[in-house]
């Protein structure tokens, strides 16, 4: 059974009524002006000749890629290009890290602590806690030298109030 016979058969099964209408050529009542198709062809040819194609950026890229690598699908080329760009970015980022390390090597410990304290968002929690512990030790040692005897007694009382029994036994 041919393709068209199949379609007729299908319609006959679905709707004998419509199959009969079609067989009687009662399908359409559309008409066009007498010379329409000749004029249509002329109009279209005139339009394409008059207006140069407004080529989109995407089409220009596709044409460029087709010219550069004929036969290769533009998506494959663009994926390759994207990988190259990511690779370049990765290498550049690595270079930045090396130069950063060189700068850090020259900085003093205090400068590094000050930098970490004022840029907490940029560091891991462990590193910040480590720096905080060192600062706490400095805070505890340095001001005491400047305290008066009363202030030192008050500070000791405050510390004794805050400290729990087990820690106190451990220190003693």
């Amino acid at each position: 059974m041919s393709h068209k016979e199949n379609i007729r058969e299908e319609l006959e099964q679905e709707s004998p009524f419509l199959a009969r209408m079609k067989a009687e050529d009662k399908s359409e009542g559309f008409t066009v002006p007498p010379t329409y198709f000749r004029e249509l062809q002329e109009d279209v040819l005139h339009r394409v000749a008059q207006k140069p194609a407004a080529v989109s950026l995407r089409e220009r890229w596709q044409a460029f890629i087709n010219h550069l690598l004929p036969g290769v699908h533009p998506v494959a080329v663009l994926t390759g290009l994207a990988l190259v760009v990511v690779g370049i970015w990765w290498v550049a980022q690595d270079t930045t890290m090396v130069s950063g390390e060189q700068i850090l090597a020259k900085a003093s410990e205090e400068e590094l602590q000050a930098y970490v304290t004022s840029n907490t968002d940029a560091f891991t929690t462990d590193l910040i806690l480590e720096v905080a512990d060192e600062e706490a030790e400095l805070d505890l040692l340095l001001p005491v030298d400047n305290f008066s005897e009363e202030e030192a007694d008050q500070l000791l009382d405050d510390l004794l109030e805050e400290i729990d029994e087990s820690t106190l036994q451990e220190i003693l």
């Binding site: 009662k26 399908s27 559309f30 008409t31 002006p33 329409y36 207006k51």
Partner: protein, 199 residues
């Protein structure tokens, strides 16, 4: 006035019977692109026009849509990769253009979707290039009441006698869904025509 002499004219081959492969070859070389486009127009413009006309109903609208469609074909021909046939690629562009036109029309209209479809049906009578008899009027009125995509499915199968595989390429829909859609369209049209012709 040239009357549409039924679906048989759709399958008349153009003089010379130029093969699609030859047309594509011409279109893809700058020296022969105009020759290729002329051959494409001679072979397909009429078929594409009738497809668009069935979708948008009025001749003036169909003329606007088909011109836009053919200009786009000329400009996009370098993107045609030959994965589908030239024939289904052209129908795909024409169908998209027609559906876009219908959606724009609906957005412009203040009426509800049902009212807009009724309006389209009534415009059949106003169109100077429609002279169908009672049965043809009812058939067209039934078709324009279908949802747009179902209308395209019905037209491609009933008038163009396209295979489901080709329709699948044109409408980017699975063959199973197209068969179901065509079945429902046929039932709806039969019901509408029988009801209205007898009354």
């Amino acid at each position: 006035m040239a009357k549409r002499s039924g679906i048989k004219t759709l399958f008349v081959q153009t003089p010379g019977g130029i093969q699609d492969e030859q047309i594509i070859q011409w279109l893809q070389q700058s020296a022969t692109v105009d020759r290729g486009f002329r051959a494409l127009l001679e072979k397909y413009q009429e078929r594409l026009y009738w497809h668009v006309r069935r979708m948008v109903v009025e001749h003036d609208d169909a003329n606007d849509v088909i011109q836009e469609c053919l200009v786009k074909v000329y400009r996009k021909i370098n993107t045609f990769r030959g994965k589908s046939s030239l024939y289904t690629w052209l129908y795909r562009i024409a169908t998209n253009e027609a559906l876009t036109f219908l959606r724009k029309q609906k957005r412009k209209a203040t009426q509800s979707i049902d009212d807009e479809d009724l309006l389209l049906a009534e415009r059949l009578h106003a169109d100077a290039y429609f002279d169908g008899d009672e049965a043809q009027v009812q058939l067209q009125q039934a078709i324009v009441r279908l949802p747009e995509k179902q209308r395209a499915v019905f037209n491609l199968r009933y008038f163009e006698e396209m295979s489901y595989k080709e329709m699948s390429e044109v409408l980017n829909t699975s063959q199973g869904a197209l068969k179901a859609s065509y079945h429902h369209a046929v039932k709806k049209i039969e019901h509408y025509v029988k009801t209205n012709v007898s009354s």
